[in-house]
């Protein structure tokens, strides 16, 4: 058995142990030595078993002990590098009940960034100012939220918010295939922030500004033809701001995760 210790440049609290060969019970001493070398501030260990031929149950037991230590430090010990052939070879029944398993170390690091560092992830979409494009865009954002673990209710609300903001951006902006609407999404485990910017149509700015007047925001009549979208966005979000000072109108919202 051999072990290669890989430090991660911008992640002082995470480390990768790349084992190879046979991890049987007489290698426990070597495994313990490896763990004793790591810095005390490390709380996330990725055990890469891609080149491992066998793992004995006593080694799994030992790793469980180290996992407990990492969890106590607010982190985890996870297994990476398991694909189907390794799984059948190692006969790892039930391993997923004990450890979190990732196909490769990078996915394990991504999970660390998201779950432990609570790192926000950014998505940028640019699309033409056309109402027909809005449904695919709103579903994209809703699906991303679901994929990142947000519940159905939060994802559905986000879909509504994106729909309303983008419809407004199309309605109040210049249209044409060459002009695009830019949507930036920042998502972390607690909240989503969205910025939607169009190219403003000067002729439509007066009506937009009228909608944005405080009295309209606080007292929207539901039977009015306009302004319902903005009222809905306001109700569904935790923060809403509109900036019409540049060549485009930017709407910024923040939505805190509820579920």
């Amino acid at each position: 058995m051999e072990v290669n210790i890989i430090q991660i440049p911008d992640k002082p609290h995470a480390i990768i142990f790349q084992f190879s060969g046979e991890m049987d019970s007489d290698k426990i001493g070597m495994i313990n030595d490896t763990f004793s070398q790591i810095n005390s501030n490390i709380n996330y260990v990725i055990v890469n078993v891609k080149s491992v031929q066998m793992i004995s149950s006593s080694v799994i037991g030992e790793l469980m002990g180290y996992r407990k230590q990492m969890i106590e430090k607010g982190g985890d010990l996870v297994i990476a590098g398991i694909d189907f052939s390794i799984r059948t070879k190692l006969n790892l029944i039930g391993l997923t009940k004990i450890f979190r398993i990732f196909s490769d170390p990078r996915s394990a690091l991504n999970a660390y960034r998201w779950e432990i560092e609570r790192h926000a992830e950014k998505i940028h979409v640019s699309f033409p100012s056309h109402l027909k494009i809005v449904p695919p865009v709103r579903q994209l954002i809703s699906r991303i939220a679901k994929q990142k673990g947000y519940g159905n209710r939060d994802s559905f609300r986000l879909e509504t918010i994106v729909d309303e903001i983008c419809n407004n951006a199309v309605e109040h902006g210049m249209s044409g295939s060459e002009l695009s609407i830019k949507l930036n999404m920042e998502i972390d485990p607690e909240k989503v922030e969205l910025d939607v910017t169009n190219t403003s149509d000067p002729e439509k700015m007066a009506s937009l500004k009228a909608l944005l007047k405080p009295k309209n925001n606080n007292d929207i009549k539901l039977d009015e033809r306009r302004g319902r979208g903005l009222a809905l966005i306001k109700m569904l979000t935790d923060e809403l701001s509109v900036d019409c000072s540049g060549t485009g109108t930017s709407v910024h919202i923040k939505k805190v995760r509820e579920e």
Binding site: E121, I123, F127, P128
Partner: protein
């Protein structure tokens, strides 16, 4: 009001596999609202999936790497360009060997199947690797006969 062709949509997202399912479905829906057939949309969904998987697996060296997918939708075709943020020499060698040599699914069921599918589903596939090891893949897929719509 109908959509005016051509138009361009771009998405930039973190180099993580979990973003790919929403993105490939997004492209499929874009094509359907642009009056392409469900079959064309489905096949394009596969192309997007495979090229994004390759970009994530081969072209994301750092943990904050991003992938950019650009779709140019014309009346008769779609063109995809996918840019990654740099790869290692080993990854690129592996990628190039897959590009040069068609794979045999019986022998190697893990690598290269994706690009083979992309090749079969599109008219043209170009892979450009620049001096900084940044990879850009450009794919053209034409609309099928009107009967298939």
């Amino acid at each position: 009001m109908d959509i005016i062709f051509p138009y361009k949509v771009s998405v930039r997202f973190p180099g993580d596999l979990e973003y790919i399912p929403p993105i490939r479905k997004f492209v499929s829906e874009l094509l359907q609202v642009s009056n392409f057939s469900p079959k064309f949309a489905y096949r394009s969904e596969i192309i997007v999936d495979e090229i994004c998987n390759n970009a994530v697996n081969y072209g994301c060296r750092t943990s904050n790497a991003e992938i950019e997918l650009i779709c140019e939708i014309f009346e008769d075709r779609i063109e995809f360009t996918i840019n990654d943020q740099g790869s290692t020499k080993e990854n690129l060698d592996q990628l190039m060997s897959v590009i040069k040599q068609p794979i045999d699914p019986e022998k190697d069921i893990q690598h290269g199947l994706g690009l083979e599918i992309v090749r079969m589903l599109s008219e043209n596939v170009d892979v450009v690797i620049d001096e900084k090891n940044l990879t850009s893949v450009h794919i053209v897929r034409k609309r099928e006969d009107i009967e298939q719509k």
